[in-house]
Symmetry: C2
Subunit: 143 residues, 2 copies
DNA sequence: TTGAGAATGAGATTTATTCTCAGAATTAAC
DNA sequence: GTTAATTCTGAGAATAAATCTCATTCTCAA
C-alpha cells in the first residue's frame, strides 16, 4: 500500500484543485492493480462499484495523475492510449509481440545510462524514457 | 535517388497487388522529402499537383509502404500518427522537446545492441526498435 | 453556514481513421 | 487490341476515442 493518495492530494492542493469523491475513486481503482490500462477498462472496473463516475471525469483525471507523477502514458494499442504506474514501479522497457500482443517488461539501467549520455551531448534534459521494441515472442515463433 | 520504386513494385507483385497511378504518386511524394510526415501533410503535398488522389487511398497505401519496408510508424503527435522513412535512412532514436516539439534524431548502435541482448535473454525476436525520450531542449531550458 | 470557484455527469461535438460501394483501372491471356 | 477476372479508386458515410459544453452540484476556507 503506497501513499499515492498523499502524493495526489499534495499535487491537487499545490494547484488549487479539489480532492473530490470521483477523483478518489479513480485514483484508488487505478492503483488497485499494477497492470497497464486504458480508459475503457478503467471505466468498466470503476462502474462495478460506482455507478456515478462518468467517462468525462476519468478523461479529465488522467492528466492530473500524469502531472502528479503517479502514472504515465505507455503504449498505444488498438487505437487506444494505455497508461501504467510510475509511482511504485521501476522504470522498464517493453518488448511487444506483434502476433499475440504479449508485453514483456524488462528493466535496463544500461540503456538509460546511454540515453542520458547521448542527451547530455545534445544539451537535452530527459524527463521520461520511452524504450521498446516490436517483434515476435517465444511462443509465436514456435507455432 | 534510391530505388524505392523498385522495392515497392516488387512488394506489390509479390502480393498480387497492382502498381497504380495513385500508388506511384503517393510513393514519390513520400520520398520527395526526408521528414517525418502525417496523412494530412502528405495529402496537402500531393494535392498541389494531383487533384485526384483521395485521402482514402493514402490511408490505404501507407500500410503497404510499411509492409514493403519503406516507411515505419514513428511518433504520434497532436493525436495524429506520424511516419518516417526506413528505406534509405539509418535507424535512430528521438529526443522530443515537450515545450516546443523539436525532435532531435540520434543514432546509437549501442542501445540497439543492449536491446538485442535483452531480447535474446527473453527469447524475443526484435523486428523493430522504438527508442526515445521526452524532455526539454537546449533553447527551451534557457528561456 | 455560506459563497466563490471548481468539479461533475450527460450528452453533443470533434476529428483521425476506417469502411462501403458503384464505377474505373490494371494485368495477363487470348 | 479485346476480354475478363480482379483489384483499385474516390466520395462520402460510418466509427469511435477523446474533448468540450453547460446547467447543476460539490468542496472548502472563512
Ligand atoms: Mn509496462
Ligand atoms: Mn526520425
Ligand atoms: Zn506472441
Ligand atoms: Zn524545445
Amino acid at each position: 500500500m503506497g501513499n499515492e493518495n498523499l502524493v495526489f492530494e499534495k499535487y491537487l492542493v499545490s494547484k488549487g484543485l479539489k480532492l473530490t469523491k470521483p477523483r478518489k475513486i479513480i485514483l484508488n481503482t487505478v492503483f488497485a492493480t499494477h497492470e497497464h490500462f486504458n480508459v475503457d477498462e478503467l471505466y468498466d472496473q470503476i462502474r462495478k462499484k460506482h455507478k456515478d463516475v462518468s467517462r468525462a471525469t476519468i478523461y479529465r483525471t488522467i492528466p492530473l495523475l500524469v502531472e502528479a507523477g503517479l502514472i504515465k502514458q505507455s503504449l498505444r494499442c488498438l487505437a487506444k492510449d494505455h497508461y501504467e504506474h510510475t509511482y511504485g514501479h521501476n522504470r522498464h522497457l517493453h518488448l511487444i509481440c506483434e502476433k499475440c500482443g504479449k508485453i514483456i517488461e524488462v528493466e535496463s539501467k544500461e540503456t538509460e545510462n546511454i540515453l542520458n549520455k547521448l542527451a547530455k551531448k545534445h544539451n537535452f534534459n530527459i524527463k521520461e524514457f520511452n524504450i521498446g521494441a516490436k517483434g515476435i515472442c517465444n511462443k509465436c515463433r514456435k507455432k
